[in-house]
Symmetry: C2
């Protein structure tokens, strides 16, 4: 997408810019336009594509500048390059650079850009359609320019135009492999059957279940299979990842680009002073109702979200650090708590819940190490699903939602980056359930959290989430509730089903 930038700015100096100094400005402008702005620009780029000072003047202690550019040494980059040059040049005349004020900033983008591709953000003061494209008038400060706000706006519009072209499709699905068909021995809905047996009961929150002893025996049997067949043989070490993700973590992991409709938000009390809360407590004691509206005014944040993807909160452990080659690939896992997603409403079973339990496997190292380990995981999952659990499944390559959200679709071009989902057939509904994934995330996390490896090579990471609810939903849907029909590895691990509760 062709782009054109035009800015007007005033630079304030500590004193009046006299005739000698004015001559120095002229020299600095010439140097900038002829040499400094051309640095790093590939040969053959047309001159009008490169940043240049098109107009300037001085008045008392102010230097007025007009800068234009195409995509090379963009107007704001040119401004900051010029800042260095002019500060040095006028320093010799005992004039100190005090402040830069941006008076105007315009971005023109060529192409057929729909209304929906214009971000609704306060930086965009107005938009005008002109021949062959649009022109945006931005309200930006010097600080905003240093934060590269105009570049990010351009990138965002490009992404939105591209996304509009997909027609709403966010996931590409491609079958990779599948298991043999299995005999149908059960056609019931496992959640309904577990409720009937009083093995599980709805929790008080949305999409939340309380699991009695019997399903937990199944969860633990699966966790033990994962430990013995995957974690130990492949050498993963247990860590504990936090379960409250601050915005800083979600910004670095990329989730802050689009996860908002699906997370549970966490807020903190404004103070621990009991006096501040006494009337809230009094209200409850008198009415038996928690005064939600009163609470809203007394909490800060949201400071972040409940664990959503499980691995992002690991990365601050290695943030800003360089890992020794001898430690690579790093192989770790976490099973210390719950994940939470604000799922769509309506009636769902344990296969689609707001609160769930997952063993999250994470690894990173060189590109080769990371892709090789993903391959090993695929081999072992295939063996576990075929030989140990005896499931009917298929395996597909998908472009995960977050890459779509982040405009990463098609950007990488690397065959090995992406997610592979394992799906199990559900006889009771005829649908397929994603119950397992293996993702190679490329340099997304190491880059976001500034993690380097000793060799200086590119660092890639991967993750694989083993959702215990999903495994249980898939297993019971295919194998039913009679342990006699279960594979020995599950039956033996579960042992006798533990009937703790008899209700009248």
């Amino acid at each position: 997408m062709h782009v054109h930038f035009a800015l007007k700015a005033d630079i304030t100096f500590s004193n009046e810019i006299g005739p000698d100094a004015k001559a120095a400005v002229e020299g600095a402008v010439k140097e900038a336009n002829e040499k400094a702005f051309a640095k790093g620009v590939p040969k053959g780029v047309a001159p009008e594509e490169i940043g240049r000072i098109t107009v300037w003047d001085v008045e008392e202690n102010l230097l007025f500048l007009g800068i234009e550019s195409g995509g090379y040494t963009r107007a704001h980059d040119a401004l900051f390059r010029f800042r260095k040059i002019i500060a040095q040049a006028l320093g010799k005349h005992h004039l100190g650079l005090r402040e830069i004020r941006v008076r105007e900033f315009q971005v023109s983008l060529a192409g057929d850009i729909p209304e929906t591709a214009i971000p609704r953000i306060p930086f965009i003061r107005s938009m005008k359609r002109e021949e062959g494209g649009i022109r945006l008038d931005l309200a930006v400060t010097t600080q905003d320019l240093e934060n590269r706000v105009p570049d990010r706006i351009v990138k965002l519009i490009e992404e939105k135009v591209q996304a509009a072209g997909y027609g709403g499709k966010t996931e590409h699905w491609e079958l990779l492999s599948e298991s043999p068909k299995r005999e149908r021995v059960y056609t019931g809905n496992p959640t309904e059957e577990m409720e009937k047996r009083q093995w599980i009961r709805h929790g008080s929150s949305r999409g939340q279940w309380i699991y009695g002893p019997q399903p937990v025996q199944l969860f633990r049997a699966f966790a033990s299979i994962v430990e013995e067949e995957i974690i130990k043989p492949l050498g993963f070490s247990e860590m504990i990842f936090p379960k409250l993700d601050t915005w800083d973590v979600l910004a670095r992991s990329g989730h802050a680009k689009g996860v908002y409709p699906e997370i549970y938000y966490v807020c903190t009390p404004k103070t621990r002073d009991p006096g501040f809360w006494e009337d809230v407590a009094d209200y409850f004691k008198v009415t038996g109702e928690v005064p939600v509206e009163m609470l809203r005014d007394r909490i800060d944040g949201p400071v972040g979200a409940l664990c959503y993807a499980q691995c992002p909160s690991f990365w601050p452990f290695v943030q800003g650090r360089t890992i020794a080659n001898a430690s690579l690939p790093v192989k770790i896992f976490d099973r210390s708590g719950t994940s939470h997603r604000y799922e769509s409403g309506g009636i769902h079973g344990i296969e689609r819940v707001d609160e769930f339990h997952r063993i999250e496997i994470v690894w990173f190292g060189t590109v080769e190490q990371t892709t090789k380990l993903a391959e090993e995981l695929h081999q072992v999952y295939t063996r576990v699903f075929n030989e140990i659990l005896g499931l009917e499944w298929r395996c597909a390559r998908v472009t995960p939602w977050f890459m779509a959200q982040e405009g990463m679709v098609g950007a990488c071009g690397c065959e090995s980056v992406g997610t592979t989902d394992y799906e199990a057939f559900l006889p009771y509904s005829g649908a397929w359930l994603e119950f397992q994934n293996v993702s190679v995330n490329g340099d997304k996390y190491p880059k976001g959290f500034n993690v380097k490896i000793q060799s200086g090579e590119e660092c890639w990471s991967g993750c694989s989430g083993i959702g215990l609810e999903r495994w249980t939903a898939a297993f019971l849907a295919q194998k039913g509730f009679d342990p006699a029909g279960w594979p020995a590895a599950v039956k033996n691990r579960v042992g006798t089903l533990n009937e703790v509760f008899r209700f009248l």
Copy 2:
């Protein structure tokens, strides 16, 4: 505390109250004052203490009533008893009772009541000091009276007067037993040492740590000791309790009476529609900052809190149910996730964190079963701390904060209800750290969640939280970091410390 109630109310009927009907009212008032209001009142109670209609009149279709009482058949109870009588009496005259409107409601309380004991709630319209006490003018609806708002206000004021008398003390501490003194082999601060060794690192949130492989080996060693010495021999079965507690759960558990300064609040997105969130995402993509203020307007709730006490969210599993005698005592535990408390700020180690990991043991049954199991737990904890971990500890009976918060202090009179804390000596600070508790909670939870047992006997419950951070903090503070000096049961379970990460 002596109490006096006075109310004025209008009862609206479907039609004009004619002379015959007026005579029927007179009869009903007489019946109420002489018979109905006296029902259930102990003998010897002075007549002015019992509810009575002191004045009445009719005008068109309205019946005006004035009712007064002391503490027996309180004015509002009398009003509802009279509602039944008058509805029946005037029904015979083809007059239907349409509505009751409360025009005035006054409560007088005798005694020296400080300003601070008056709840700051909208129901209290004004307060007046009069000889020997106070008079409150309440703004209440019939619905509020049915919800017993005046009674709850009186109870709350009584609690506040009582609490003021304690002079701020909320916990009574009484030594029960202690271990032998142990040789001092280490005087360092375990958190500082673990940070130095890069075993742990601050998470991105307040009071949150990321645990590397080595401390997790210790956590798992402790969990395995708990499993083999406590959970299996005493016959506890694993369940999974939810980790997001809605207000309904916290209301029933009693936590809603005072937990507000210490919880993490959870809010939900107003909608899952991505269009609703697009400008938030755009703002982040352009600035790299999550716009917290924009988020505040787009979330609902708070709907509840992150898991604070761990056991409350179990109780909906049995809510409203009656448990067979054969299932008693029910013995269960949960280790499925994190607990979160908004702790005081400042520098703390892993002994005082906002996010922590706990194995929560819960049991319930008859009073005898519940107290007996608490006794068994004390015996086994004593053995584990003395013989297996070799800790220096002491054990004290405390009145837990929630009982203080709920005005239960001194109310029960039962020796067996309450909490016993185990405290470990920390050589590096000279302080004692609570690292384990056993609580007998009486009928608090079964009553709050309406759980009954087959025999019809009173149902009591208990809980005991095993905090892995606290065990680790206590153990390392006393035993240090050289596994050669650790008790065999820990050393053997930990095995070789797993050095996954080498940093440059």
